[in-house]
Amino acid sequence: MSKRPIRILVAKPGLDGHDRGARILARCFRDAGHEVVYTGCHQTPEQIAAAALQEDVDCVGLSCLSGAHKHLFPKVVQLLREQDAGDIVVIGGGIIPKQDFPVLYDAGIKEIFTPGTPLPEIVDWINEHVVPGREL
């Protein structure tokens, strides 16, 4: 398969509009040479899964700061799996208490980045764990 850049969907599930982190990450991924699609705020898990498929992304980065992550993040993974896209790497970030990590990992979220994480750390993680061009 020809080498293409990693394609990432940065998505804001749920109702909160705190998009500072999501937008900074979108720009950071672009600066790191990845192709980035940003959904904007207020997306349902269904909309996010559909966008991930349509944009043929390798990775979905979910950002939620409202406290509804336990409901929203697993739902996105579940919808991707149902549409044979379970190999898309889904990561999450936002205000997520430590005690919620196990539930999210169990649901298929590959990594969680909380406030204060340096951007290069997230970029490195992506480069290490995401392979461009999903196997179809």
Binding site: V10, G14, L15, D16, G17, H18, D19, R20, A22, R23, I24, A26, R27, C28, R30, V36, Y38, T39, G40, C41, H42, T44, S66, G67, A68, K70, H71, L72, I95, P97, K98, T114, P115, G116, P118, L119, P120
Partner: protein
């Protein structure tokens, strides 16, 4: 001129001597860094002296409190007459839970109420909407109908205490509920006081809680301003907010400029659409600023804000009444300055920020709790935050004299720089055709995104410091107790809503919504029909669905 010629000559010769000394020192040892700047990346010089402010005009630029342009404050006796209002933003779980928190705060000496709603309410959705699943009561109190609202204000004397409500797209609905609740408690509309945030422009720019497109959103705001001017004279019908602009990552100057330009947009809309004179409504426009961590920058921003607004109202909009020139504002310490790491350090950050708000002359203040980076605050954390204000007010002595920093070369010069920077932005936005046009072009959104990104890279490189995040990091996680919103809250609220829907009169619900639809289509003021609708137990979502149907939906352009 601010200083006598002789003094400036003396100053100049003394400065040359000092500069020589500086040079000598620097040849041996450099300073801590090449460039010193504020948290907003605004350049700060090594020293300020009379020369920096020599061309300020004492009367026009500084003056006295309660005198135009109000740089030194609005009130002739400052905080000597009365402290700022201690107003803690609070709301969680059900209306009953929040009502309990309110009573706890009032018992602890809080002097005003401030309501945080949950996300479904903020977005004009009911708890039973599929989009609301998982969000009920998490970021604030869940309100679906007037019945919830009556529980919220249970045993609260609405004619005595003032209440602020942070509500934007559904502001008409929640304010209608407040009016209806007052009526039920026998308090007349001209006796209630408070504030609805009701500032949609900053939602498109920064906070992103939006529903309908900008133009009709502004129309609804003008409806509330008109209704307030005629029927609820003690209510601040809009709280023009820089807080969220700053939280989204803007600089202090951007916060100042975009907020004031938003305010100007509202003034122009009400004059044009409603035919009111600014003096009929401007005294009830209020503002809301952020108190970020850079101490002097914040104080100067607030002093500059009063000055610019006074000029704008008097000279640009020809307001005659002094009250129309006054910028009254609420301040909240900066949530974005707090750290999840070593959370107890947040107490110190908040205290410093609160002090800057006081020295900047705020009318009311919310202090963040140490655990708010993680969740809604616990009772104990809220109490520390409230006590922080009370200690500043009643122990430190900073409120003994008015605007104590006036005349500081640095403070006066930085105030001027804030003012000039804001005017530059305001003029650029004027040239674009106003704030609606600027938002349409993505201008303020991208200016903020650039500033936010720059700050993040400065943190990553260590150029800017956040203690516990990129310096003085500890290995062991320091944890604080967190407030958990029980999932039973959602179940309980769903049940309540279902019961209300079952027992209400369906015909009057339909009639109310039809009346509202008609008022929207005809361009009439929606407030009177909205009050009828909430009395008939129409839900927040049912009313907002009418707005969505008539005015359409706004889609986030997803700029980054």
């Amino acid at each position: 001129m601010y200083f006598a010629k002789e003094l400036l000559e003396k100053c100049s010769s003394l400065r040359k001597k000092w500069e020589d000394q500086v040079k000598k020192i620097l040849s041996r040892q450099g300073e801590r860094k090449e460039r010193f700047s504020t948290v907003s990346d605004h350049d700060i010089k090594r020293l300020y002296s009379p020369e920096d402010i020599k061309d300020l005009d004492f009367e026009k630029d500084i003056g006295f409190p309660s005198q135009f342009p109000y740089t030194r404050g609005l009130h002739p006796t400052g905080y000597r007459g009365r402290f700022w209002t201690y107003r803690m933003f609070s709301g969680m779980g059900t209306a009953r839970d929040t009502n309990q928190r309110w009573h706890m705060l009032l018992q602890n000496g809080q002097t005003g109420l401030s309501t945080a709603f949950d996300f479904p309410t903020l977005m004009g959705l009911d708890t039973d909407s599929p989009k609301a699943l998982g969000e009920c009561g998490r970021c604030g109190v869940a309100i679906d109908t007037l019945e919830d609202f009556l529980l919220l204000v249970d045993r609260i004397p609405l004619g005595e205490v003032t209440t602020s409500m942070t509500i934007n797209p559904p502001a008409t609905v929640l304010w209608a509920m407040y009016c209806a609740a007052a009526e039920k408690k026998g308090v007349a509309l001209d006796q209630i006081g408070g504030t609805i945030q009701n500032d949609m422009l900053k939602e498109f720019i920064a906070q992103k809680t939006f529903m309908c497109p900008p133009e009709p959103s502004v129309k609804l705001i003008s409806d509330t301003i008109e209704f307030g001017a005629r029927s609820v004279p003690r209510w601040n019908t809009v709280s023009i907010s820089g807080y969220h602009i700053r939280e989204a990552g803007s600089t202090a100057v951007q916060e100042l400029a975009f907020t004031l330009r938003d305010g100007m947009e509202y003034v122009e809309d009400v004059v044009r659409r409603k035919g009111l004179h600014p003096d009929e409504f401007a005294p009830r426009l209020s503002f809301f600023f952020n108190a970020h961590i850079d101490f002097f920058e914040e104080i100067c921003k607030m002093r500059a804000a009063r000055k610019i607004w006074a000029r704008v109202m008097r000279d640009r909009y020809k307001a005659k009444e002094e009250r129309s020139w006054w910028m009254r504002f609420h301040t909240q310490t900066a949530g974005c300055s707090l750290t999840a790491q070593q959370p107890y350090n947040n107490v110190i950050r908040t205290a410093t920020e609160a002090l800057s708000a006081v020295l900047g002359g705020t009318q009311s203040l919310h202090t963040n709790s140490l655990d708010e980076v993680w969740c809604l605050p616990t009772d104990h954390a809220v109490q520390i935050a409230l006590r922080t204000q009370q200690i500043i007010a009643e122990e430190t002595g900073v409120a003994n004299t008015i605007d104590p920093l006036a005349g500081s070369y640095f403070v006066e010069q930085l105030t001027r720089e804030m003012e000039e920077g804001a005017w530059e932005y305001i003029e650029r936005i004027d040239d674009m055709g106003g704030m609606l046009a600027a938002i349409d072009q993505g201008f303020p959104q991208m200016e903020i995104a650039d500033a936010a990104y720059r700050f993040q890279t400065q943190i990553d490189s260590g150029e800017k410091v956040m203690v516990g995040v990129n310096k003085y990091v500890t290995e062991e996680a320091e944890e604080c107790p967190l407030l958990d919103i029980d999932e039973a809250v959602e179940q309980g609220q769903l049940k309540r809503l279902a019961e209300t829907k079952r027992k209400r009169n369906d015909r009057s619900v339909r009639t109310s919504l039809d009346d509202l639809r008609r008022a929207c289509k005809k361009g009439e003021n929606v407030m009177p029909v909205c009050i009828e609708a909430v009395k008939n137990l129409c839900t927040v979502q049912e009313i907002c669905d009418v707005y969505r149907e008539v005015y359409g939906l706004y889609q986030d352009p997803g700029l980054f």
